[in-house]
Symmetry: C2
DNA sequence: ACAAATTCTGCAAACGCTTGCATCGCAGAC
DNA sequence: GTCTGCGATGCAAGCGTTTGCAGAATTTGT
């Protein structure tokens, strides 16, 4: 048996220095009221002097649970995810919880690793805000008994809440708005993980265009999520020879990239081409021209997720539901009547 | 003594199911080669069937250290911090380390909490990329013996590396560039935590302007870090009646906000006002007009930090140094000759 | 066929903390 | 002066792993 004398600072060291038992130190550090004031201050001083910091792993282990909220997002760079993350973080901190984030970069292998990490950490709750998701992983989370929330993917279970945005509705609104402005040639720019051939958004776009004006043309392009991806998709679009009078983008972030490329090619927005986004991130308001987009209430989504996962600290979580949120069209200056 | 029968899945359950001891299971799960192939697969199957996930807290506790890289940033929203974070994350993942991020929002109380968290987690290494920092906290980290790197603050110690950017040089270059374009009235827009009256950047700006053209006017404004903060500072600037022909911003993110407000007020960039930023974030290239800025190699900084904190997995870390990086002026379209 | 060398596997301590229960000390009651 | 009651503390088990060492199983050598 190892007799590895611990060099690290631990409860024992503090206890010894203060002349009490480890239990007492533990009680002081956890603010249990049963400790005599004099003892209490003696312990606190000892801890201070020794520069003691409790080992959170040991703590979690002993308590059988951790005070950590796990968050998994696809792309931290995209302000949409970031905003939800920030809301969750602030809600968590308000309840004295810490937060661990993991980024998947839209890679499902990384998503797997992240889920493993969160389960391994025995997080108190888990928020999964990703575009990619396999049934298998949902099951894994379901079996883990960790209260969780999934955004835009999967179906509710006993410990899982689902939150989804009705993109269909948003796309329809946008298309009919553009249609009313006379647009008959439209393109949709997405990122790869939202645009498998099976993707609902893709279908919805095509359907909506077809419904609004059966004779209209519609095409679809894609690039990686991000400013560069948007730009790249726009370049492909232009090179393809297809000249849409309006471009719908899967999110604002990509839309900004798209606009950059259009400007570069001498096209004016919205005079030559109208552009729309999705999400209504801060940047949509700050770019030039300000972007017409669909507002998705990210703060509200964050709060809902937090509530359903760790609702006010009670043991009875409010999971197992499905919540649907409607986007709302926000018209700014990046859209106008179609060029004749 | 509690006889709380464990309901949670643990090594024991797997061991029992596979008909071996916990040690063997542990060895299988850690890929120790000494396990017989047949036993190995039996164990793996049992683990699979039971949906077993090792408890990382117990693991860290037993091992005496965790495979976690801690990162603390001021403002995850600012792409500058985000880029460093992403580099660190990818380096960490490449070595099989996980990452825990904490956001301080420029609040020193939150910074304290974050440092406590990281120490409590016994992270393998710590990167602190914040603008605010108290000597006291640096000492705390120093005493913790955790290999750490601080960006732009503090001084090297045995377990601490310092990385700083020579902002002074960048500001000088920018001012003299603008000066050469005929600018004689310039403003500096910062965020509060970079702009105490003691702040070096503030001083450098004033000095540089004074040196380049003794008769020139210079003023300083500030808002919170972010698009809104930049906009707000610009508004104050305009309302103050001071009409600079050039505005230097402490970072690109704020510069985008500043430009938005200027446009709103009908000022043209760079015809009426030139604007510069710092960092050279992606967005600087995508905004309109593309932003003249100072490139700060964030990827390089990320790699350096990672190397010095967890360099290639050896026990001998390369800390205790100070590394200085020079920014480089990148001229784009947001600057031009001064309006006469 | 038996000893020796070599794999493999199990035992049990240790990691640093929490917490139910036992204990100790002392004030007030009788 | 002994007893009761109660607040404050200590004891020690247990949380789920890892790992040094020893013992069991298997192979090798003769």
């Amino acid at each position: 048996m190892r007799k590895r004398r611990s060099l690290a600072m631990n409860l024992d060291a503090v206890a010894q220095k203060a002349g009490v038992s480890t239990s007492t130190v533990s009680r002081v550090l956890n603010n249990l009221e049963i400790v005599k004031t004099s003892t209490r201050s003696r312990v606190l001083r000892a801890a201070e002097e020794l520069n003691y910091h409790p080992n959170l792993h040991a703590r979690s282990l002993a308590r059988g649970k951790s005070r950590i909220l796990g968050i998994i997002v696809s792309n931290m760079e995209n302000p949409f995810f970031l905003d939800i993350y920030r809301t969750l973080e602030s809600d968590a901190h308000a309840q004295g919880l810490e937060v661990v984030v993991a980024n998947t970069d839209y890679r499902s292998e990384q998503l797997l690793a992240s889920v493993q990490l969160m389960i391994g950490l025995r997080v108190a709750g888990l928020a999964v805000i990703v575009s990619e998701m396999e049934e298998h992983l949902i099951q894994t989370v379901g079996n883990s008994r960790i209260p969780a929330a999934f955004y835009d993917v999967g179906t509710p279970q006993k410990n899982i809440t689902n939150i989804r945005v009705d993109y269909r509705k948003g796309i329809k609104k946008t298309v009919s708005y553009l249609s009313a402005l006379g647009h008959r040639r439209m393109a949709f720019v997405g990122h790869h993980s939202t645009l498998g051939p099976i993707s609902e958004r893709r279908k919805t776009f095509l359907e909506s265009v077809h419904r609004c004006s059966p004779s209209a043309e519609a095409k679809i392009f894609a690039g990686p999520d991000g400013l560069d991806g948007g730009r790249q998709a726009a370049r492909e679009l232009l090179e393809s020879g297809f000249r849409p009078t309006a471009i719908l983008c899967v999110n604002d972030f990509m839309a900004v990239g798209v606009m950059r490329e259009l400007r570069e090619e001498g096209l004016q927005i919205p005079k030559d081409v109208s552009v729309t986004g999705f999400d209504n991130i801060k940047l949509a308001e700050f770019c030039s021209p300000p972007l017409t987009t669909n507002h998705i209430p990210r703060e509200q989504i964050g709060h809902i997720i937090f509530q359903s996962v760790l609702g006010n600290g009670r043991e009875q979580y409010d999971t197992g539901r499905e919540i649907v949120i409607d986007p709302e069209l926000v018209v700014r200056d990046s859209t106008g009547v179609a060029k004749s």
